[in-house]
């Protein structure tokens, strides 16, 4: 698709991966986006727990500059098209954290108006349970996400269109 196709055939891929992933994992910029009460825990993680230590202090107001979406709160079916659109507007590579019981599974809202888990509409990398989860839980997921980014390779990102389409 892009330069990754040619990099794969050269011996430089691991070195390029290392440098690129080092840059990516210390600059995961989340999109400013909260749905319900869990968003307050996300904000307090930003401010008091100082998420800037992990290179993520820049919450971007537009999805086009963001790498990561924290779905913090109840996903109603009326809001679901907007979440899907925000996700699709984010440039690759991008990651999603489902923050809180509602985003993970619908939580206590087993009703007609709530999506039973945001993984029905966007692919999710990490689930953080809790109602709401503690800021430490978000930081733990952050560190795990950095570990996950370390293990990625540019060759895996060839099929960008394919990763947009939901499996199943």
């Amino acid at each position: 698709m892009g330069i990754e196709t040619y990099l794969e055939k050269t011996p430089f891929l691991p070195a390029v991966d290392y440098i690129v992933n080092w840059g990516r994992k210390y600059s995961v910029w989340p999109v400013t986006f909260g749905l319900a009460c869990c968003a307050l825990e996300m904000m307090v993680t930003h401010i008091s727990w100082d998420i800037g230590r992990f290179g993520s202090e820049a919450f971007r107001p537009t999805p086009r500059q963001a790498d990561m979406m924290i779905v913090a709160g109840t996903v109603t079916k009326k809001m679901a098209p907007m979440i899907k659109r925000i996700y699709e507007q984010m440039p690759e590579p991008k990651w999603v954290i489902a923050f809180g019981a509602c985003a993970c599974s619908g939580g206590v809202f087993q009703t007609y108006s709530v999506v039973q888990g945001v993984d029905q509409i966007v692919p999710v990398d990490f689930y953080i349970p809790g109602c709401p989860p503690k800021p430490e839980a978000l930081l733990a997921a952050w560190v795990k996400l950095q570990k996950k980014i370390e293990g990625e390779t540019l060759a895996d990102r060839k099929d960008v269109r394919g990763s947009l389409e939901m499996k199943g």
């Binding site: 009326k78 679901a80 659109r85 029905q120 509409i121």
Partner: protein, 162 residues
């Protein structure tokens, strides 16, 4: 209390056959009126110089399922001049139309859309009667008593239209 009695007395004077019932609970008066005259009564309460109910605090629906007619629409009015409140109740059947009071209080627009959305109460002469809380294409009216609490198919996979 005296002021509220003034409201009820004035209503009885102006619409002698339209007061179907009245009651008081903790100093708040409730008047039941027929649905055909709701616009005239609201106009009178709004424009009478002694009453001046200029604020529609709330308008909500009510489902009393076994009863016929089934629905009630409740109007909570507030007179800023007199510091008085009054509640109007109107009985409406299913698939029956009730006149909109949007021409008197602009705030009734969204309240009536909400009552339509959640109960399916139909308002005549409403400028824009469509769903307000639920999305377009939703089927049913979820605050009706015969609607299942969780709704049908609540746990089926959801595919949003982007």
């Amino acid at each position: 209390m005296a002021e509220n009695n003034l409201t009820i007395n004035k209503l009885k004077e102006k619409f002698p056959n339209s007061i179907l019932g009245e009651g008081t609970f903790r100093g708040e008066s409730t008047v039941t009126v027929p649905k055909e005259e709701i616009v005239q009564i609201c106009k009178f309460l709004h424009s009478d110089p002694d009453l001046q109910y200029h604020l529609l605090t709330d308008l909500c629906g009510l489902d009393r399922l076994p009863e016929v007619p089934r629905f009630e629409v409740v109007y909570h009015l507030c007179s800023i001049k007199n510091h008085q409140r009054i509640r109007l109740r109107v009985k409406v059947g299913e698939d029956e139309f009730i006149s909109s009071v949007e021409s008197i209080w602009k705030s009734a627009n969204w309240y009536e859309r909400e009552a339509f959305d959640l109960f399916g109460i139909l308002f005549k002469n409403h400028p824009d009667l469509r769903r307000i809380l639920l999305w377009d294409g939703f089927e049913g009216h979820p605050l009706r008593k015969d609607y299942p609490t969780q709704g049908p198919d609540f746990d089926k996979p959801f595919v949003p239209e982007v």
